[in-house]
Symmetry: C2
Subunit: 376 residues, 2 copies
Amino acid sequence: MAEKFSFQLMATDGKARRGVIRTPRGEIRTPAFMPVGTAATVKAMMPESVAATGADILLGNTYHLMLRPTAERVDRLGGLHKFMNWSKPILTDSGGFQVMSLSDLRKLTEEGVTFKSHVDGSRHFLSPERSMEIQRLLGSDIVMCFDECPALPADEKRVAQSMRLSMRWAQRSRDAFGDRPGHALFGIMQGGVTPELREESAKALVEIGFDGYAVGGLAVGEGQEAMFGVLDYAPDFLPQDKPRYLMGVGKPDDIVGAVKRGIDMMDCVLPSRSGRTGQAWTRHGMVNIKNARHQDDPRPLDEDCTCPACRNYSRAYLHHVFRAKEMICGMLLTWHNLHYYQELMQGMRDAIEAGRFAAWEAEFHAQRAQGDIAPL
Amino acid sequence: MAEKFSFQLMATDGKARRGVIRTPRGEIRTPAFMPVGTAATVKAMMPESVAATGADILLGNTYHLMLRPTAERVDRLGGLHKFMNWSKPILTDSGGFQVMSLSDLRKLTEEGVTFKSHVDGSRHFLSPERSMEIQRLLGSDIVMCFDECPALPADEKRVAQSMRLSMRWAQRSRDAFGDRPGHALFGIMQGGVTPELREESAKALVEIGFDGYAVGGLAVGEGQEAMFGVLDYAPDFLPQDKPRYLMGVGKPDDIVGAVKRGIDMMDCVLPSRSGRTGQAWTRHGMVNIKNARHQDDPRPLDEDCTCPACRNYSRAYLHHVFRAKEMICGMLLTWHNLHYYQELMQGMRDAIEAGRFAAWEAEFHAQRAQGDIAPL
């Protein structure tokens, strides 16, 4: 395995990129989808099963882990990989986004954010320096800069102020991260939907210098069209030779559109969260297993899928265990969804290598347009 | 595999018995513990994982399955084995016990029991004939007679009346079951804590003739001492050459005491239910993972256990995921508990074969008396 963190761009097709990130904990084939293991577990999954879906890397949430079980405790127990029994790479977010979306009584200053825990009301402080410390204690392989992200829509002045604060925090994150061979620090571009602000942000980050760059401030309620609008130009401000990460995305068609526009990495709770609420993502779109039309259906979710849910169980069974509120429903649907997402990424990686991404994308949309199989 | 159902007694040690039940779906090593898959799933477990713990047979609940998804639907979908992805033997109970404990508005007559579903309030009828039909539709390998079981303590007159009703229902069950090669019908001995009634019941059942015999009416709140009191004599009323099944038992020391007294098969929700509430059974007794003393403990539940929970996770992790209400807590603890129960059965099978059951039992109690490992 690699001693150092590196990124190799292997092929491009239009703006779509096929590459590999090498880390001491293993390779990450890009474009990559990262399942989310918020509280040191990908919900409803054994880590061996997550690996079996083809995931090369997981995302962990700094905000949740700092509150429970705490970064210091995870460190004492040997780090997050050992704690949660996942030996491949882990990316941790900075905590910034979730402080804003989940905590109570936030107070934002130049120094950082003071907030109250949503778990027990205890008071905490996050800053670039503290976020770097927490992510180091967790043992994260890819560390994210601590940033601030306003919800969209927001007026341009607020977006510009916030972006410039995030750029100052990016420099402090870089300084606090220091030199940690084998570990990477990613900067996060902000700037909302304003090209000039995106460009200013990218330049500031590149000036500081990072191992990878995230396109931040998207997937916060702006809609797919606005997101793609930014992705049409924003990745071009970033270096070709570093990985590009779109945070918190998304639905399958969001992911395909992002890869098409030059994104290399994504994460989202959607496949696991959907699985726990009876929703299965297939090449034909989304299947709601709670729908009574499945109750006598002996067919699998997707005839062509090789995941355990599709190989071994009927829609009728999945419907039954959903109705009976049995845990195996969430276990099987989450496995299916994560398997489907990884298959989607593999399909795109193969297509980019073969220079047939456009044809692959057309087929992707055609299959979805067909819709789910007809009822019995 | 065997074409027919058979039981072979391979060794005895005192009253403890080592044997094998052969069925067209595979062998069941006895003494056997049957995990409970109430609603066509052993809660929190994939069936492959249940098999990996060493379980040769599962129990399914007629009452739950007849209400949802219904026996007719399971039959249309190819039977319970295919439905729930379990190819080894399945034993189904008759529904009688759970009609009494779970349903509303029961009305008991000589003919059977009318009741309202606890799921949706719909009205249903169970009788020996209907129970046999449901268990046939489910595709059960070992079918239980439909019986009636009064809660203990109950006065002897009530127990005698109930037992005699159950014996008439046993005859009707036998008649309705008919001749089904490869499938077995077990009778259920009743009679409470009165030796004369137990003997009368056993004689009635043997007169009818069954493939196996359950000791019924125990594990209904009478306590271990009263249960062992009945087990000290009741199995002796049953034929040596047929398997003996103690329904709904129990804690590890209940199981050991039952095997010692000549029981071959048991089932209980305890290992799976305990797993979902943070309780782990080990050779040193029960560990409550929610206890704060585990929060920094890097040691596994049991150093000597080879289950995935003990091989790959610390008590600190299990405590964390319990506190965070993560599904993996129930998944791992259930796996551990079922693994421990099967290891317990294997230990007893080996000890009986080697003629050292008494020594094995002394060691079992000595390890439990030591208690859990000391806090860090």
